[in-house]
């Protein structure tokens, strides 16, 4: 049976280990945005032994490229983008301390293996609910790669940001479990 949690970032090993695929989580605190282009740069920095624009320990990264904010708003519409494009970079960031990723769609085995080994979770947010999700973001600040436009790294403050655990630290996958239940062979 799915449980509901209210969690605040950064996340600890102990916290992510109790989460199970299908659990609903309302996240509050600081999260960071990054898409493919930013991920590539973050991994390049790690390879070069340089410091990242934010601390990965216990961090949560949101795969999103928001629309520009209207005057007076911190951010525009901000729903998740498809996550597999980050698959080649995520395991490296997880090994360095990343505890949560928010996106939509399937992850590959390298990512889910890293989630088990280093204790991290992959959360799904509702794709196409950009207006609703954008309203849970209370502030946004570009902290790196401004020239990437929508793909720049942003520091977000969120309150009760609704996500569902897709891949937990125990090797479960909500997309498989859910589909098997309703598939007509």
């Amino acid at each position: 049976m799915s449980k509901t949690y209210h969690l605040t970032t950064p996340l600890s090993d102990e916290t992510v280990e109790k989460l199970q695929s299908g659990d609903i989580v309302y996240l509050s605190g600081t999260i960071y945005t990054a898409r493919d282009a930013a991920h590539k740069r973050l991994v390049d920095l790690l390879d070069a032994g340089k410091e990242l624009p934010f601390d990965l320990k216990g961090a949560v990264i949101y795969f999103v490229g928001p629309t520009p904010p209207k005057p007076g708003d911190p951010i525009g519409s901000a729903g998740p983008t498809t996550s597999y494009r980050m698959d080649s970079y995520s395991p490296r960031l997880i090994a360095e301390g990343l505890k949560g990723m928010i996106g939509k769609g399937k992850r590959n085995k390298d990512v889910t293996d890293a989630c088990e080994k280093y204790k991290a979770v992959y959360f799904g947010a509702t794709g196409g609910a950009g207006a609703l999700l954008g309203k849970q973001i209370k502030s946004a600040e570009v902290i790196a790669y401004e020239e990437l436009g929508p793909e720049a790294v942003r520091k977000l403050e969120v309150v009760d940001f609704p996500v569902t655990v897709v891949n937990d630290t125990h090797g479960n996958d909500l997309y498989k479990i859910g589909r098997e239940q309703y598939e007509v062979k």
């Binding site: 629309t67 519409s77 729903g79 939509k104 769609g105 196409g128 950009g130 609703l132 929508p150 909500l174």
Partner: protein, 283 residues
């Protein structure tokens, strides 16, 4: 000869882009409500509820439904008795697109294929638009517009089958495409299927099929039957809303069929996410 001013086209295009970004058309909204009623999985039902709530917020607060405000795709029919004055039709559509995306606070999503450099400051904000032009009888310009997101475009496929593949070959190909895509294209989906023609004709037909209103019936009874068969097959996959598992994976299957070469059976599958932002105007 009827004269239509360049600026009038720019304004019309700008307006439909801004409106479409935050207002789900009635056919898509009704289909989502129906999916919500029919869905058996409590998880998918909850997500559908969130999406209907999202549509409400987007419309009442004029916020984009989704952060992926798409590439701007147009199918334009220009009457042979129309003369556009003050500039070229394609330029007017591109200018209206740029204005709409800038003034509507929509996302600039066009980039170079390899460097991935955004084109907003070079070619133009979310330019170029994708424009399919046709010349027809009459003195009007008919514009069909859709904002096409990347997630659903990424799982689309085309293949040329041998004629012996037949209807079953088409059904299997579409099923394989949607099954492999799983949660990625943001279901519940509209599935455009282009059949026949040449390779590119099938692809363009599958795109154009997505512009048809959800819930409308195919004029060709044979294709209407095939649409129903494929829809049933796809809903057996169990993918559900956003891949969470469920009974409502596909809102509609739309087929456009064309005569083809005696040697081939081209088939194209173009996928549309649940946020089917499409509209149709006549100037």
């Amino acid at each position: 000869m009827r004269e239509i001013a360049y600026e009038e086209i720019v304004k019309n295009v700008r307006d439909i882009i801004v409106y479409s970004a935050s207002n789900l058309p009635e056919d898509a909204l009704n289909a989502m409500k129906e999916a919500y009623e029919n869905e058996k999985s409590p998880v998918s039902k909850e997500v559908l509820k969130q999406l209907l709530e999202n549509a409400d917020i987007a419309s009442s607060e004029a916020r984009p439904l989704c952060q992926d405000t798409g590439l701007a795709v147009f199918f334009v029919k220009i009457g042979a008795d129309v003369k556009v004055v003050g500039g070229l039709l394609k330029d007017a559509i591109n200018e209206g697109t740029e204005k709409g995306y800038v003034e509507g606070y929509l996302r600039a999503s066009t980039c170079e294929p390899f460097s991935r450099a955004n084109l907003k400051d070079t070619v133009g904000y979310n330019l170029p638009a994708i424009i399919h032009l046709d010349i027809v009888e009459g003195d009007k310009i008919e514009i069909e517009y859709a904002a096409k997101g990347g997630g659903s475009e990424n799982v689309s496929r085309a293949r040329v089958f041998p004629p012996a593949a037949g209807k079953q070959g088409v059904i299997d190909f579409v099923r394989e495409c949607i099954s492999d895509a799983g949660p990625n294209p943001c279901p519940p989906l509209t599935v455009g299927v282009g059949i026949g023609g040449t390779f590119e004709k099938a692809v363009i037909s599958s795109k154009h099929a997505l512009f048809r209103n959800i819930g409308s019936v195919n004029d060709d009874p044979e294709m209407a039957d095939l649409e129903a068969t494929i829809k049933d097959e796809l809903n057996k996959l169990g993918i559900g809303t956003m891949g969470m598992g469920g009974t409502e994976t596909v809102l509609a299957v739309h087929i456009e069929a064309n005569p083809c070469h005696i040697a081939s059976l081209p088939v194209s599958v173009n996928v549309q996410c649940h946020s089917s932002r499409h509209t149709h105007i006549t100037i």
